[in-house]
Structure formats: structure tokens, C-alpha cells
Amino acid sequence: MSVIFYVLAALTVAGALAAVLLKNTVHCALALTVAFAGLALLFLQLDAQFAGFAQILVYIGAVAILVVFAILLTRGSETPKDGVYSRNWPVGLVIAACVFAVLGWAVLHSISAFRQGPSAAPVVTVLDIGNALMGRYVLPLEIVALLLTAALIGAVIVAMHEKERPK
């Protein structure tokens, strides 16, 4: 366990905590970007360069911007007077704490997580990923392409201005 891992993990968790705890929605979106960047750096630390840069491009470049646009379009940056948490927030907090307890217990008691794995970094080039995408994973790739097209059209149709119907 290197120092870099601890720094990146602390950065990611701090960004995630700020994203769910801050009152101003725009600040939440910015903290979310920090969490995404920390995750991308963790991917790079795990020798997954392609996934790390895809994370930066897709999450920081697209999803964070989409969130900011949604906040602007819904005027969500105004903090409501009666708090930002829902009425039954203690229940949600208890559920999340229970889930974390179960996951943490499972990780700490698993044998495979504490077996010393291969320490040498796997050599994976973008060429290998491209070959795998065009070979073994070509059907999932096509399905994802179809899904993205459907999501693109669906998002536009859902968010499109409806014309006033004549009554």
C-alpha cells in the first residue's frame, strides 16, 4: 500500500462526501468532479490507463457538465428553506451504514482479498483493447452503440418542450 494510494483514496472519499453533504447544488457538482478525478487517478494507479482516461473524458467531460446544465435549467442552485435533506433521512443513513458494515465485513473476512496477487503490472495496450472490442466483445459493443443511440434520442424527446395542446 503506497502513500499515493492513501492520498488518492482520501481525495476521492472527501470529494464524494462533499458531493452528498454540501448545501449548494453547484458546489455539490464541483465536489462530484473532484471525486470523479480521484477515481480516474485511482484507475491510473491500477495500471488501467484506458479506463482512467475514459473516466476523465466521460465523467468529468460529459456527466459533470450534464449535471451542471440540469442544475441551471431547473434553478436547483437555490437552497430550499426547509433543509436539503428529505423527511426520513435517518432511515436512509441507517440503511447506508448497514450496507457499508456488510460490505466492509465481507471484504475484511474474504480470503481472496488478502491473498498476495500478482504484483507485476499487466501490459495492456490500446491495441489489445481494440482487438478485444472488435473480436470477443463485438456483440456487447454493438448493443452499447444501440443503447447510446436510444438514450440520445430518448433524452432529447423526454426533455423536449411540449407544444401547448389546443383544448
Binding site: V20, S86, V91, P122, I129, A151
Partner: protein
Amino acid sequence: MTPLAGYLLVAALLFSIGLAGALTRRNAILVLIGIELMLNAANLNLIAFWRYGPHPEALTGMMFAIFSIAVAAAEAAVGLGLVISIHRHAHTTDLDALNRMKG
């Protein structure tokens, strides 16, 4: 502690933070942010298992993470489109105030 256990614990923490955010916030956009955090925690698990698993050259975990990122992007676009549509219809994104299904 082995590196794999460390990454798994960070992912579990991120997932729980995202779940807490999705369950406790009132603004629909913040709920979507929590869901994104949960998806990212799952991606971190996939990449960590790929890196420390027995056959990293098979690329299975990496491919799973890449497809998961693509599906998460589609989910974010449709989800935020729905939030904008709901805001136009009900003039609020407060989930406590949106308590009827009839339009």
C-alpha cells in the same frame, strides 16, 4: 493489508456514501449524483479485481468497466432529461413535494 483489500474498502465506502446521498437528499439531481457515485464504486471494484485477479491479460474486468462507463453515461443523460421534464411539469425537483403520479 493487501492493495486489493484497500481498493475494495474504498469502493465500499464510496458506494455507501452514494447510497446515503441517494436516500437522504431531497433534490432529484443530488439523488442522481448519488447513483453516479454508486456506479463509480462498482467500476473501481471491477478494475481492482482485473488488476489483482489471476488473468489480467484476458481483459474481462477492464471491458466490464468500460461498458459500465458507457451505460452510466446513457443513464445520466436520460435521468437528467427526466429531471428537467419533471421540473417543467411540476415546477419543482423536491422529491418530498413530488408525491403523486397523476399529471
